[in-house]
Subunit: 225 residues, 2 copies
DNA sequence: CCAAAAGTGTTGGCGTTACACCCATGG
DNA sequence: CCATGGGTGTAACGCCAACACTTTTGG
């Protein structure tokens, strides 16, 4: 008895901070099933393709986004999750800084747009559950990893970074403590540059230090404050 | 153009504490490929089967183990990971208390046995990577979740529990601090019973409290000590 | 000179770590 | 009565949270 063949898909939750909130990228489906519905970007894995490569390819094809930080999230395998038959989906989580989040509708997509990640519109398949899990994971990782830094263009100011954390954690943080802790990580590198904008003191610019540890745990440092 | 069909497998890393160390369950393969090699228990997902259900079924069929705590670990999809063709595998992590770890070789298994999880023998497919990832995950979760409690039969003594943590974290813990912190969680429930064995004072027995939170984080409590 | 955001230190409280002795039992 | 592991409290320390004013700039 030979095993059942499956179709294998990848879906990608791309997060960005926009309009002062956490948003995720959705595409309006150009084809059935769920034609016209919003859905996560994604599609079928090709014959000789690695899962992560498939996620990157689909993301690029449907939305034009590339070179994002990407990590595997969870694999969804409910037998009834796709009306076309037996489709399992490996979901990936991505974070896009503003400079890499200019999406344009590509193949299979009638439109692409960022939506409030915590109050998404009606979406196709089980993608609401996928999105919810991604939000949860991003929030959790915000408390012990440097993942949030990747939501900003480099270089960035500490105030910008603090706003990112505040959006992710949904609570205000103390400026002095934030800066103290963030600098203590030695994950940031000071640049020579300043951001001057508006009628106030210019802000120092930082970038993610090349060999910074990804996990704050290693230094025993945890957010929240 | 129709998408490539895949085979979908599940593999399970079952951990147990035995001989004072962390061990994982392996089966000796009865069939090609890799006949005669040790491998993780696992197999193909059936047509209308959920991934977790498949993991439980394969585990039961091959090793006789059932009713274990199970969680999804990671999905491995390297196109060359299986010589039979395009097979992706959703890996699961399970923990077995001594009372549920009496394995016996079942279908497809010439033998089953626990092996040192951190120095496994040569194993089939990419299962060494799967196992390594599982060890890493278990260790990490030991620092902020009550997962380790599930490596013991209930009820258990605090000394037994401490030994589990010490094996997982690979370092000695202070007895008084351990007890203080563990009891502060309110994850444990004191029973009426005592364990008397050997020539010393009997030890109080505890069980995992029914509604205990799974994540210590929620109480702001973290191991290490 | 005013508005606006950047930048900077100290302190009190709390939680964590470090540490040593008595208890209950079986043989 | 001795050996064995079970069980318990406290003090010093270090880390974290709370908190307000000065700096620099543009207009």
């Amino acid at each position: 008895m030979t095993p059942t063949p499956f179709l294998v898909a990848v879906d990608v939750v791309v997060f960005a901070i926009r309009r002062g909130r956490l948003e995720a990228l959705l595409v309006r489906r150009a084809n059935d099933p769920y034609r016209g519905r919003w859905a996560l970007p994604g599609g079928f894995v090709e014959a000789r393709e690695d899962l992560e490569a498939a996620a990157r390819r689909e993301l690029r094809e449907e939305t034009g986004l590339a070179d994002l930080h990407l990590e595997q999230l969870y694999t969804f395998g409910d037998p009834k999750r796709d009306p076309r038959g037996r489709v399992i989906s490996a979901a990936y989580l991505a974070v896009a800084p503003p400079g890499k989040s200019a999406a344009r509708a590509g193949s299979d997509a009638a439109a692409v747009a960022f939506h409030a990640a915590r109050q998404p519109p009606a979406i196709a398949f089980d993608h609401a559950a996928v999105l919810a899990k991604a939000v949860d994971r991003l929030r959790t990782k915000s408390e012990y990893s440097t993942l949030p830094l990747r939501l900003l263009d480099s270089p960035f100011t500490l105030s910008e970074l603090q706003r990112v954390y505040e959006v992710l954690l949904e609570r205000p943080l103390d400026k002095r403590n934030f800066r103290k802790k963030m600098l203590a990580l030695e994950a940031l590198e000071e640049t020579r540059g300043f951001r001057r904008e508006g009628a106030h003191r210019p802000a120092k610019l930082y970038r993610l230090s090349p060999r910074s540890p990804n996990l704050l745990k290693e230094k025993g440092i945890l957010f929240p404050f």
